[in-house]
């Protein structure tokens, strides 16, 4: 038996495992709050799903297409405020979330049409400017409460599991979209843009349209995440949802997990969602130091993120056998 034929079944097995893994994970996460009925655990996972969604969304543009944006808080905030306003007007939360995604996508076009004329660091700087401008406008917009924030008054009992499954579903949809794009012609186009925009254009890829499309898709997912968060928090304010730190958090997760990959942003979302809060809660006096150290360790020793490190580890383990 040749070496090639011997490794073929193993490769097939690995392929099936990789296809089955998301479904297994989804099933586990779906039953987890029923097996561990702790409101705190459920809340922690709820927030983790939202962060994971935004992380996956950012990766569509920043990871696949290589367009580093510091302005995703604009979409998160736009989604949060759209949901809040619509829910207070009596709209069903699910429709409010969809409207949040649509609004964020529209905002992404308004941002993207001029901003994608710029490249590299100039684009990144432009997104910072836009993000700050939007935050300042929202801080002074009286009908949304300005800097005082906006309260969502939902006249029904709070059901945490309902929020949990909404967030899980959204994260699953985000993952499915990311997976699909990574294995599609559109995804290849985005990767080509990341490697060399001019060369991609020569090959028939329209970088401007591709970037706008990825941006809109990412914005829609981020906006919906903002909407789901707003409903849960029941109180939002511009300094939070539109804050620069929100943009940085969204950007940081794919970097931690592994930029430009399908699983990296998921890992990043989980690490950020769980570890950050656990550090804050367990070590209130030194949480910033510990979190900073963790980030330094990851970024310094493993620029490929957690996923890159795990891959290296597996490779080395194989080599040593």
């Amino acid at each position: 038996m040749s070496a090639t034929s011997a490794t073929l079944p193993a490769r097939r097995m690995a392929g099936w495992a990789m296809t089955a893994l998301p479904w297994i994970l989804l099933a586990i996460l779906a039953i987890l709050p029923l097996l561990v009925p702790s409101p705190n655990f459920t809340r922690l996972l709820f927030m983790t799903f939202l962060w994971t969604t935004t992380s996956i969304a950012w990766n569509l543009l920043g990871g696949f297409a290589g367009q580093v944006s510091f302005g995703f808080a604009v979409f998160y905030g736009a989604g949060a405020y759209t949901t809040a306003l619509l829910m207070n007007a009596g709209v069903n939360p699910l429709f409010a979330f969809l409207a949040a995604g649509l609004t964020a996508a529209l905002v992404s076009l308004i941002v993207g049409l001029p901003a994608f004329r710029l490249r590299g660091p100039y684009f990144a700087i432009a997104t910072i400017g836009i993000s700050e401008a939007v935050r300042v406008v929202m801080t002074n917009l009286s009908f949304t409460g300005g800097a005082s924030g906006y309260r969502i008054l939902e006249h029904r009992p709070f059901r945490q599991l309902e929020h949990y499954y909404t967030a899980l579903l959204l994260a699953a949809i985000a993952f499915a979209i990311s997976w699909k794009i990574a294995h599609s012609k559109f995804g290849l186009g985005l990767k080509a843009i990341r490697q060399d925009e001019d060369a991609a254009a020569d090959l028939g890829v329209n970088p401007y349209t591709y970037k706008l499309a990825a941006h809109a898709l990412a914005a829609a997912l981020t906006g919906m995440a903002g909407g789901v968060f707003a409903r849960y928090a029941a109180f939002i304010h511009p300094g939070g949802v539109f804050g620069f730190h929100t943009s940085v958090h969204i950007l940081l997760m794919p970097v931690i997990g592994g930029i430009g990959t399908v699983w990296g942003p998921v890992l990043g979302g989980f690490v950020f969602g769980i570890v950050e809060e656990e550090i804050v809660a367990s070590f209130p006096e030194i949480h910033l130091l510990l979190y900073g150290l963790l980030l330094i360790v990851i970024i310094l020793f493993e620029p490929g993120g957690i996923l890159g490190g795990l891959r290296k580890l597996v490779r080395r383990f194989r080599d040593h056998r």
Binding site: A147, S148, G240, I274, V275, E278, G309, L313
Partner: protein, 415 residues
Amino acid sequence: MEGTRPFLRNAFIWTAVVALPITFLGCTRKKTADAVPVGVVLPITGREAKPGQYQREGIELAIKQINQNGGILVKDRGKKLPVREIFYDDSSDQAKSASLAERAMSSDEVVAVLGAYSTALGEAESVMPDRYQVPWITTGAAATTIFNHGYQYVFGTLSPTTLLGSSTAEYLGSLVDQGKLNKGLKLALALENTDHGVDYGNGIKQWSQQHPGYFNIVFSENFDLGSPDFSGLLQKVKSSKADIFLADAHLQDYITMHRQYLQSGMHHQMISYGARGPESDARKAMGDGVDYIFAGIWWSRNLPYPQVKKFNQDYKEFTGHDPDSWYPATAYDAMRALQAAIESAGSLNRTKVRDALRTVELKDSLLPGQVLKFGPNGQINTPFVIVQNKPGGKVDIVYPKDAATGESIAPIPKK
């Protein structure tokens, strides 16, 4: 060997990265049945770190004293139980603040949560108490919007900010009555663009409308909380040619704004930054530049009550420094009010404690009037004291008259 080193290094790093979350998840707070768990969520990092730390010290001093006396008597347990503090730093971040309050209420089995310094953080946390039916006493949020939603588990040891505004105007009115200031002086208002600022401005406007002829508001503008530059706003204040400048600002904004005020060379007959003024940080930063600033505050260490003198002494012994402005006192009294409520309820049942908080009366309160009692909406309504910074770092209570430790200096002398 050469190939083994990177492998070992990677293995070590990734073991650490993977093990950390697992360790933290397993690292739940120690739960003891024979204690009264109390959640405390305050900022000790970020822009509100200083006031948050002072409030934490106030709560911890109260807890220390309660525990030294054997703890809180819980009748249905038939004994005194010590208080166990579960502390969280919200980093002055609203979302984190709400999240940590929720965590304390949902997983730490706390009897109540104390904290939320500043209106902005309090607004975010205020959603959680009714959701989890856990009493919540804010020690540092005063805006009326927190208390007018009909929440049943929300309490606060700060009087409303509207009262701060009207007390400030009333004090200035008393200076007019004494002949220290003229009638019809022009006021310029600079208000932080939050509910706190709105309430403060409303308080001043209401008093002015009820007492026509005393003051004319010639300028009123909002500013962003945490802004690094107020020069544009101050230029407008200068152009308004007002006689009195009243701002409503948090500690960091007060320091930034007043530094720029001094640099601009402006002078007003009276100047105030709302509930900020006597803080030692401001004097350290601007020296005698803070002289004659007056502030309406919820508590002063100069109040002539025996319990205040004892508190000042205990606090200095506990922390190594004097109480700075009003911050530790409202937090200290919040913990003592909770103790009284638990003892009155005779139980750690949260609803019973909530019911007891509604009727609790702390008769040796540190706060002006010496009685702490929550109103029907959960907020207390004790009077404010007006203090004025004097040369040499002295701070006097100048209003009301019966508590005054010194005379008002008005108008502010030109240097």
